[in-house]
C-alpha cells in the first residue's frame, strides 16, 4: 500500500480550536479548518461559521481517501464536535515522525516545526506560532482581519504538512502507519469520553487541601513519627524501617534511596509503606488545580499517544486522573445509573515475554494462571502439587524474582525486596535463567540486535533507534513494553470501533463505562476484545484479563491509596469513604 492507492484523494487537514468556554477539560470549539489536496496543492479554507453549517467533512473521507494531519487526535476531536463522520483512513505525520526518529537526538523536538527542521524544510517561526495560538485561545470574537490572520496561520500548517508528506512519503511503512492513524481515532474517542469525576469531592479537596495538610501529616504520621513540621526526616524514616524490619534500598553513598520510585516500588511489597508514600507524593506533587475536569464533570486531557520511547501514552501526571497519586483515583466515580470497569491483562509482561521468546516452559507457566507458583514448581523449589496457600512464602519470592527480571533488577535489589540474603536472590535469578533458557537466549539476541543492528521493533512497527542506548536493562525490557503498548493500541481500536465507551487507557488496562444494565455485557465484550488483541500481537498466544467493577454509587479505589483517601475525607468531613 502507498499513497497511490487512495484514488479519491489525499487531503491534508488542520483545524484551529480552543477549549469550550476557555476551560481545559472541555471539548474543543473549532475555529477554522484548512484542507489541501496532495500533491496538487489545491486548497480550501473554512471559517468557523462555514464549519458550523456543514453536516459532513467537505472532502472525501471514504475508503478510497486519506486524511493526513499532524497529531490527528486533535483533528478527530473537531470532527466529533462538528458531528462529522470520521474519515476511514488517517495518516498522522506526528506518529510517523516519532516512529522514524524514536531514540534519535532531535535538537528541535518532535513538534511540526521540529519535524520540518529535521528534513530541512521551511516553517513559520515559533514566536509567530505562539502569538497566533494565544489569539485563538482568547476564543474571540475576532475582527475580520484577525479571522483572516487565523485562517492564514492555519494554512501555513497544511502547507507544512504538504512539504512534510513529500519528504516522508517514501519512508512511511504505510499499512502500519494507517493502523497507527486508526489508533489516533480511538484516542480521540477516548479523550472525548473522559473519566467521570466526583466533582463535589474534588471541590472539597480543592477548598480544604492547604488547610488540612498539617492535620493530614499529624494523622498519618502518628503511626510513623517521621515528620518534623512539614519536613520528612530521613533519619527518622531509617529508625522506622529498622523497627519494622523493612530492608530499604540504599544509594552508593550508603544513604537510603529516598526517590519516589523507590517508595512506590517498596509500597508494593510492604503495604504499610503506602500511606507515607502517598502522603509524601501528595505534599510534593499534588496540584489539584491542574487536574483537567470539564463542565460535564469528566477528566479530559491529552493522552499524549506515542510520547514514550516504548510507544506508550504519556499523559501529564498532574492533568490526568491516573497520575501518580493513587489515592486521588477515589475521585473517579460513575454517574448515577452507570458503572465502570477497570480491565487489565493478567501478568501482561510475563505473557508477552513468554510468547515472543517462544519459551515453552514460560508459556506453560503463564497458561497455569499463576506463573509465579508455576515458576517455583518448574524450578523444583516446591512440590508439583504446591498451591498458593501451602507455599505462600516461596511463591512470593519467585514472584519477586519474576518482577525483578522484568525490571532488570540486580541481586542486591532483589535481596532487599524479598528481605533475604543476597545469596538467595542470586540463586533465584539463576533459577530463572535455567528454567527459562529460551527466553534468555531471545533476550540476549534482542540486546545483540540493538547493539549491532542499531534498532529494535515491536509487532506492529513501532521502533527505537538504539545507537545511543546502551542500557542493557532498557534494551531487554523494550520488547515487552513496546509490544504491551501495541496490544493496548489494538485493544483500544477494537473496543472503540465496537462501540464500547472507553474512558481511559492506563498502561496495561482500559477503564470502560456502561449503563448499569449493560455493564456485564460491556465487560464480557471488553475481555473478549482484549484477548483478541493479545492473540493478534502474540501470534495466537492469548492473555487473560482481570476486572475490577465499580457500580454507582460506589467509587473507584486503588487499594494502595485507600488509607490516604479515608484520612483525607475524614479530615474534610467529606465524601463517602472508599
Amino acid at each position: 500500500m502507498t499513497a497511490l492507492d487512495f484514488s479519491d484523494g489525499i487531503f491534508l487537514v488542520d483545524f484551529e480550536f480552543h477549549p469550550a468556554r476557555g476551560r481545559e477539560g472541555n471539548p474543543p470549539v473549532p475555529v477554522c479548518m484548512v484542507v489541501r489536496e496532495w500533491p496538487s496543492g489545491r486548497t480550501w479554507r473554512y471559517a468557523q461559521a462555514d464549519l458550523q453549517q456543514m453536516a459532513a467533512a467537505p472532502f472525501p473521507t471514504g475508503d478510497k481517501a486519506l486524511c493526513v494531519a499532524y497529531y490527528a487526535s486533535a483533528e478527530m476531536d473537531c470532527f466529533h464536535v462538528l458531528g462529522w463522520a470520521p474519515p476511514a483512513n488517517v495518516l498522522d505525520l506526528f506518529t510517523e515522525f516519532r516512529c522514524l526518529t524514536n531514540g534519535l537526538r532531535l535538537p528541535h523536538g518532535n513538534g511540526l516545526l521540529g519535524a520540518l527542521m529535521h528534513f530541512g524544510l521551511p516553517g513559520i517561526g515559533g514566536e509567530q506560532k505562539d502569538t497566533m495560538r494565544d489569539l485563538i485561545l482568547t476564543a474571540g470574537p475576532w475582527s475580520s482581519a484577525e479571522q483572516l490572520a487565523i485562517l492564514d496561520y492555519c494554512e501555513t500548517d497544511v502547507v507544512a504538512l504538504d512539504n512534510l508528506l513529500t519528504a516522508m512519503h517514501d519512508q512511511i511503512d504505510w499499512p502500519r502507519a494507517l493502523l497507527r492513524g486508526r489508533y489516533m481515532q480511538a484516542v480521540s474517542l477516548i479523550q472525548m469520553n473522559g473519566v467521570p469525576i466526583d466533582i463535589d469531592a474534588l471541590a472539597k479537596l480543592q477548598t480544604h487541601w492547604l488547610a488540612i495538610q498539617d492535620q493530614l501529616i499529624a494523622d498519618i504520621d502518628r503511626d510513623y513519627g517521621v515528620f518534623e513540621g512539614r519536613t520528612f526526616k530521613a533519619r527518622r524514616w531509617e529508625d522506622y524501617l529498622v523497627a519494622k524490619d523493612i530492608p530499604w534500598p540504599r544509594l552508593e553513598s550508603g544513604r537510603l534511596d529516598m526517590c519516589d520510585a523507590t517508595f512506590r516500588e517498596m509500597a508494593r511489597t510492604y503495604i504499610e509503606v503506602a500511606p507515607i508514600r502517598e502522603l509524601r507524593s501528595a505534599l510534593s506533587e499534588m496540584r489539584l488545580a491542574n487536574l483537567q475536569v470539564g463542565d460535564d464533570e469528566r477528566n479530559r486531557c491529552l493522552l499524549s499517544p506515542f510520547r514514550a520511547r516504548t510507544g506508550r501514552n504519556q499523559p501529564s501526571n498532574s492533568k490526568f486522573i491516573f497520575g501518580p497519586s493513587v489515592w486521588l483515583r477515589g475521585l473517579i466515580r460513575p454517574k448515577p445509573g452507570w458503572g465502570l470497569a477497570y480491565v487489565d491483562w493478567s501478568q501482561q509482561e510475563f505473557g508477552i515475554a513468554a510468547a515472543l521468546s517462544g519459551d515453552p516452559a514460560m508459556m506453560e507457566a503463564y497458561r497455569s494462571g499463576d506463573p509465579y507458583l508455576a515458576f517455583a514448581i518448574q524450578a523444583g523449589a516446591v512440590p508439583k502439587n504446591a498451591t498458593k496457600k501451602t507455599h505462600e512464602a516461596e511463591r512470593e519470592q519467585f514472584k519477586a524474582c519474576v518482577l525483578a527480571v522484568q525490571y532488570g533488577m540486580g541481586e542486591a535489589s532483589l535481596a532487599a525486596r524479598i528481605n533475604q540474603p543476597v545469596a538467595r536472590a542470586r540463586q533465584l535469578l539463576e533459577l530463572h535463567r535455567r528454567t527459562y533458557r529460551q527466553f534468555w537466549k531471545w533476550s540476549d539476541c534482542a540486546v545483540d540486535e540493538a547493539v549491532l543492528g542499531g534498532r529494535l521493533w515491536a509487532g506492529f512497527g513501532w521502533q527505537i533507534h538504539t545507537r545511543d542506548e546502551l542500557n542493557d536493562r532498557s534494551l531487554r525490557n523494550f520488547p515487552m513494553q513496546a509490544n504491551g503498548a501495541e496490544m493496548l493500541r489494538i485493544a483500544s481500536i477494537l473496543l472503540t470501533e465496537a462501540g464500547i465507551r472507553v474512558c481511559a487507557p492506563v498502561h496495561d488496562a482500559l477503564l470502560i463505562e456502561a449503563p448499569l444494565d449493560e455493564l456485564d455485557q460491556a465487560i464480557a465484550a471488553t475481555k473478549s476484545l482484549m484477548q483478541e488483541a493479545s492473540r493478534i500481537v502474540l501470534d495466537g498466544f492469548e492473555l487473560g484479563s482481570d476486572v475490577k467493577e465499580v457500580r454507582y454509587p460506589d467509587r473507584y479505589m486503588d487499594k494502595r491509596g485507600a488509607v490516604m483517601w479515608d484520612k483525607v475525607m475524614s479530615l474534610i468531613g467529606g465524601a463517602a469513604p472508599a
Binding site: 474519515p87 535455567r434 534482542a446 529494535l456 512497527g461
Partner: protein, 195 residues
C-alpha cells in the same frame, strides 16, 4: 450502548487483516551472533561445584599432559616428544564437562599404567566422571579413604546445555599456546634444568 452524546464511531476499517501486519520478534536472526568458546579450563572440579560430563565417547580426548605445578598450567605434549620426556608427562583422558552455569571445562583423568592399575585417587576420579554422565554431582577429597566422595544433586535439575563445539575445538581452546611439539620448548627446557 451509546448515548446521544457519544461521538460517532469510525466505520469499520477496510485495512487488511491485522494479523498479517505483525512483524516477528526474531531479533538477531540476520546478525548471526553466536557465543564463542574462548576459555576452557583443564581442571578437576572444585569442591562446591556441581558438574556433568558428556555421555558420548566422542567427547573424550586421549592426550599426554605435562603439568607445570608452579604455574598450575597444563600442556599437551606431542607423542614423539612425550617419548623423550616420559618421566615428566602422563597419559590422561580429557573428559568434556560443564558446570551449572553452562561453563565448559575439561577434566583430565590419568589413565592406568602399563600394568593396568592406577592410583586410587585417579580411580576414584574416573568413577566420579562416569557417574557425572547421568547425574549432577560434586566431589570432595576424602583424605581418610584416599579418594573422592561423590555428592549427587537431589533436585530434578535440568540437563546442561552443551556448547555446539566438538572435543577437538574444546581441546584447541584449552591448550591454545600450550602445545609442546619440540624439546626446545621453554617449559621443557626449564624442567630439564637446561635454563
Amino acid at each position: 450502548m451509546q448515548d446521544q452524546n457519544t461521538p460517532k464511531q469510525p466505520a469499520p476499517s477496510t485495512s487488511p487483516d491485522l494479523k498479517s501486519l505483525r512483524l516477528p520478534a526474531n531479533y538477531g536472526a540476520t546478525l548471526g551472533v553466536k557465543k564463542l568458546l574462548t576459555i576452557v579450563p583443564v581442571v578437576r572440579p572444585k569442591k562446591p561445584q556441581f558438574f556433568r560430563t558428556h555421555g558420548s565417547e566422542d567427547m573424550t580426548f586421549p592426550a599426554m599432559i605435562l603439568e607445570n605445578k608452579e604455574s598450575r598450567e597444563s600442556y599437551v605434549v606431542a607423542p614423539e616428544i612425550a617419548q623423550e620426556i616420559s618421566e615428566l608427562v602422563r597419559p590422561v583422558m580429557l573428559h568434556a564437562a560443564i558446570d551449572r552455569q553452562n561453563n565448559a571445562f575439561l577434566i583430565p583423568v590419568p589413565l592406568p599404567g602399563e600394568d593396568g592399575t592406577r592410583n586410587p585417587w585417579h580411580e576414584s576420579l574416573a568413577q566420579a566422571v562416569e557417574h557425572a554422565k547421568a547425574k549432577w554431582i560434586r566431589i570432595a577429597a576424602n583424605m581418610h579413604v584416599g579418594g573422592y566422595d561423590i555428592y549427587e544433586a537431589e533436585g530434578a535439575l535440568p540437563d546442561p546445555e552443551w556448547p555446539e563445539d566438538g572435543i577437538d575445538a574444546l581441546v584447541e581452546v584449552a591448550f591454545r599456546g600450550k602445545i609442546i611439539s619440540s624439546l626446545d620448548h621453554p617449559v621443557v627446557q626449564s624442567l630439564l634444568g637446561k635454563i
